[in-house]
């Protein structure tokens, strides 16, 4: 685990990163995201439909002992993590959609998380008393929304300042990702060496399979590929720190340590898998951009006819 200082530092860095993310956006981007509001609904569906069920399914099929099963299900029931926005930014996804999904899933977390936890815990015959810290959920929202809004404002005020902050936020984002990868492995190598392969499979699978299912769901519900990739990242990337907090508040002693294993390992591997997926998605977006650049204009007759009518209507 991280020390308190590191946690605070990470929190501040997250705010700077979100400031940079905000500086890459305009309100128009949010309006474009809202043009297809299904996107956000699909995101919520994936977040609270697919992920908890996936956590539960992995725990059952892999025969996880209760503490690990609790950890997995808990992880599945979490809202989207703020890091999903950074990865969406780097994968050239629809950042405004990602931020809206994170905000929405976090907003409903206060209600949805306890409900889902109770449902799946009882299904598996596990204790179902959890403390979801509403204050911390609110804090997540503040860290997310306030810097984003300030970033948008700064960019509107002066695009030079906005672009500089965006660059700083992006660089810091890369730094934080590298920092997490570089420090967590040596810190937890003992844990990593003694962990059973099924646990690895479960924690890595939760993220990766979650992304895949999120993508399939979004595509199935007719989202364009770029939105679907955004929804995939949002689905797979859960708010790990919130899960850790819930565990710390709910459990004690030995049990606490055992339940923590799944969220901790998940948080480590999701950074690795998301980074890889981001590189892949970015390449896809770039190729699509190029293809659009050279694409033919649709020449279907009805479109041309309406165009003619419109042109005739506006001619003086």
């Amino acid at each position: 685990m991280l020390t308190e200082l590191e946690t605070k530092l990470l929190g501040i860095m997250m705010m700077v990163i979100m400031l940079g993310m905000g500086a890459s956006l305009t309100f128009k981007d949010f309006r474009i995201a809202f043009r297809k509001p299904q996107g956000i609904m699909i995101g919520l569906l994936a977040q609270y439909g697919i992920m908890p069920a996936l956590g539960y399914a992995l725990a059952v099929t892999l025969g996880m002992p209760p503490p690990l099963a609790i950890g997995l299900i808990l992880m599945g029931c979490m809202p989207g993590g703020t890091t999903s926005n950074i990865f969406t930014y780097f994968s050239k996804g629809v950042l405004a959609l990602s931020i809206m999904m994170t905000i929405c899933s976090t907003l409903v977390a206060v209600v949805m998380v306890p409900l889902l936890l109770e449902f799946y815990s009882q299904l598996k015959g596990l204790p179902a008393e959890y403390k979801v810290p509403a204050g911390n959920v609110a804090q997540v929202l503040v860290v997310l929304i306030v810097p984003t809004l300030i970033g948008i404002g700064l960019r509107k005020w002066n695009p030079n300042v906005g672009a500089t902050i965006e660059l700083i936020g992006g660089l810091l984002g890369i730094f934080v990702i590298l920092f997490l990868i570089a420090t967590w492995v040596p810190r937890n190598h003992l844990l990593l060496a003694t962990t059973h392969w099924t646990v690895y499979f479960a924690v890595i699978g939760l993220g990766l399979i979650g992304m895949a299912l999120g993508y399939v769901l979004a595509r199935g519900l007719r989202q364009d590929p770029r939105r679907a990739r955004t929804i995939a990242l949002e689905t797979g990337i859960q708010n790990g720190p919130l899960a850790v907090l819930i565990v710390l508040l709910t459990f004690r002693d030995e049990m606490q340590q055992q339940v923590l294993l799944a969220p901790v390992l998940y948080s480590l591997f999701i950074v690795l898998t998301s980074s890889a997926v981001t590189v892949w998605f970015r390449g896809k977006t770039n190729r699509e951009e190029l293809a659009r650049d050279q694409a033919k204009v649709p020449t279907s007759a009805p479109a041309a006819a309406t165009a003619r009518a419109a042109a005739a209507g506006q001619a003086p």
Partner: protein, 577 residues
Amino acid sequence: MDRPAPIYDLKPWTTHYGGAASLPPLRHRHLAELLRETAARYAAQTAFTTCMPNGMHGSLTYRQVDEYSDAFAVYLREVAGLKAGARVALQTPNCLAYPVVAFGVLKAGCVLVNTNPLYTPAEMQHQFVDSGAEALVIVDLFADKLDSILAKTAIRRVIVAEVPQFFSRVPRAVIRGVMRWWNRVLPPIAVEHVRLQWALAEGSVAKDRGKIDVAHYTAGLGLETLALLQYTGGTTGVAKGAMLTHGNLLANLEQSFAVGRSHIDEGREVVLTALPLYHIFAFTFNLLAFFAMGARNVLVPSPRPIGNLQRAFDNYPITWASGVNTLFNALLNEEWFTAFPPKHLKASVAGGAALQHPVAERWRRVTGTVIAEGYGLTESSPVVAFNPLTGKQKPDSIGIPVPGTDVRLVDDEGSPVPAGAPGELIVRGPQVMQGYWQRPEETTAAIRDGWLHTGDVAVMDGDGYFRIVDRKKDMVLVSGFNVYPNEVEDAIAQMDEVLEVAAIGVPDARSGEAVRAYVVPLADGLTEEQVRTHCRRLLADYKVPKTVEFRRELPKTPIGKILRKELRAEYRAKSGA
């Protein structure tokens, strides 16, 4: 040579002019006078803004452009020691350095040589030697290309400019940092050079010390004085310099105003300049015309990928845009553009290559504004014809000749063809160049009896609107029948499986010449027979390509025109003819 006056000389198109049919007399003796007068009128307003893909920007007011270009003029004349009429090459993408240098050269009474920054060293050498350029302003990104060629040219001064020129300190440092350390596109410069900001400082000091009146440099200039050597590949291969005078450009400005006046609010417009300024279309239309109209020019260094334009549209209230078909097409494929089209846009103009009918219609529908296609050549500064912005616009047509321009369609003997028949478009007017720089033979071939022969075959309809049928030199003669490659290309382009196509004529034992098509398929699997079957449904037999070759891409000019001559040269080389 006594023939009845051809229909073209009756100018049936003049009834479609929105304004006056004749061109007003020019109000200035040369461009420097126009530039100085405009700068004084709009002094405090923003003249140019460079907008980078990430939104970083820098701007110059009219006064700053005036002062910096004065300083550069003094630098050229006093520090670099150039005489009036000396050629100065300018080789940068769109950036704030461009107007400062270009205007400075004109104010110094020198001749500007626009040079494509993407040229290879060999192409640069040809252009520099041919023009006899004595000084060069080059962007730092490509300055390493000078290493191998500079000694072979007459260039004595190299001045290095940069894309974020005149940006404030932090954005400039960030952009240069990214260029140097991340993109690694700033090469070391081996040749002796000065930085533009240093040259401007030297010029400014020399101006103050010598109490120099910059207007003095252009005192003896007139409309006939050479202003610009604009190189054009033409279809014959070697690039040659079209000699455009101050008078040519001033006249073409007036002619452009005649087209756009109804939609131009002087001192209030914001024009998007995504096309390169070294190209004659953007040079005359965006740089000169909109500067003269007191507009703010938003310069985009590179419009590819098209997302690079998003910040320009986000951050500035664009009212006018100029572009080529590919640019409008690309914008229409972007959600950020189509979902919230620019609110302040009033009008757009397309040139350079044919504006496809579906692109134009979609543009009108999406933006709710007028888009007009025009026609021009480097040799005519460039505007010859335009669809009027108010009144009748005809799709797939280049519109009507601009005021003050005579146009005829003629056959091979130079006799006018009847209305409705295809003939070579010839042009006479104040915008037609003096000739090709130091190429008297090619000049006499191009300009006969004062008429510029464009090499384009066109048709005029009853209203006096013209439609380009094809390039004369590209025409294919199959068993005595004329085949226009455009017609074949249009037919093949209708296939959904086809991305791009070009058609050329190749020697054929039986028919003299035969049509050969080059097709870029959207996906693999398209066969030669499918293409020919498709053509047979739409075209007469002799027009159907005899051979079809599939390839991944077609050779193109920097602004996206397909180069048929390269395909022909390639075929000749391969067949050993």
